[in-house]
């Protein structure tokens, strides 16, 4: 039997192509339920194969899927980048996508699409700013790092504006956290950042147009992680 073509692993593609494949998979996600009545009319081997493809397209791997942990070294470089060091856009984007995927999963929204391309563009803007953390956080929000693929109904996977801001706040707090002492998994640091973001969101919102003060505040809060 001839093998059906499969979509490549997004992790092996360049940034825009990774986003493209993730978007494609997100758009195909609802097809499983729509196909079900038709699938039941097909011969078993063909039905099984098509069901497998439909399954691959859904089940939580849809949007943030295949966002891999880029590894401690990449995360550490991205974290240092937010504090002033040089870091490649691709590394910042990888760390951002990983952190956001974990945060979305915790919020029960792991079917939303994360764009590494948008993350890289945001970082390009922020890297020249004297307030890198603030600029990056605002850019992620304004450029919509997280969303749905074009043409897809938002429906149940919609994320409110406050939730968006909360996720980017948690992400930036996580990146700013001290990593000079090891022993705590990044997923745990992300969880703590999420809870901390919930706790300080109002305070951060109150000075979101004062970059000096906000940058200082973000660093102070991150020190507590």
């Amino acid at each position: 039997m001839r093998h059906l073509p499969t979509l490549p692993d997004p992790g092996e593609l360049a940034l825009p192509l990774r986003d493209f494949v993730r978007g494609l998979r997100q758009k195909t996600a609802p097809s499983r339920s729509r196909l079900k009545p038709a699938l039941e009319l097909l011969p078993t081997p063909l039905r099984d194969r098509l069901e497998q493809i439909a399954r691959d397209f859904s089940e939580g791997e849809v949007a943030s899927m295949r966002v891999r942990n880029p590894g401690d070294a990449v995360i550490a470089r991205a974290a240092a980048g937010l504090k002033g060091a040089d870091v490649a856009s691709a590394e910042m984007a990888a760390a951002t996508a990983f952190g956001t995927a974990v945060l979305l999963k915790a919020a029960g929204k792991s079917d939303l699409l994360i764009s590494e391309t948008v993350a890289a563009i945001c970082w390009y803007e922020a890297r020249h700013s004297p307030h890198r953390a603030v600029t990056y956080m605002h850019a992620l929000n304004e450029r919509e790092l997280v969303g749905t693929a074009p043409g897809l109904a938002h429906g149940a996977i919609h994320l409110g504006e406050a939730d968006h801001r909360r996720i980017y706040l948690a992400l930036v707090l996580w990146l700013l956290a001290d990593r000079s002492i090891s022993g705590v998994a990044e997923a745990d640091l992300l969880n703590i950042s999420r809870w901390l973001a919930d706790d300080v969101a109002d305070e951060v919102d109150s000075c979101r147009h004062q970059p000096d003060r906000l940058e200082r505040l973000l660093r102070e809060h991150a020190e507590r992680i």
């Binding site: 002492i181 022993g183 640091l189 809870w195 901390l196 706790d199």
Partner: protein
Amino acid sequence: MKRSLSLLEDNPLPIRKAIRRARWFVSSFRDFVDAVGEETQQDFTLDEAKLISAFTSWYRAFESQKDKAQDHRLEYVTFAAGLMLRELIRFAPLSAATQSREDPDEPAHFWPEGYVYLSFCLAVRAAVIEQDFSIASDIAPELGDIRTWWSFRENTFEDRNLAIAFLELFAGETPNWTTPGIFLSDDGPKLPPASPPPRMKSHR
């Protein structure tokens, strides 16, 4: 009392600094709850989001009065432990599974959550004092006195600040019952009045 604080004690940071990081606060509290649960045969559910809120609130309270502690560092350790107890009681991150209490006159069964909060704060206090001042901490006899526990629970529910004074009492120090939430009065170091706990109630 000094159980399961290995995450703090083995930390490259001094305990007084490590406990001010959420990662170590949460993980050491989590370990401590497991240890107490095993020791007292009780199951606890931990809400880590509430624990972070307690931590954040404690951190702010700690920082806000820290400057007054420069000449009274040892006393401030106890006060900070009291603030921690106050915030743990306020945010109540623990829930003990309801079960038949084996011995309601045992503090650990009388108020399981409060027992964990108090034990944790006393253990952190003892570890900091031992590490920074080379002083071994004693436990006051009131810790096992169930009538003091009645008073502790009722009074702290009515006025959270009294948790600080009760921690001082359980740590064997003289409690400040009148202004427990303030480390130093305007006229100098804290001089606690030697009065009994407020509204000490008899429950039998």
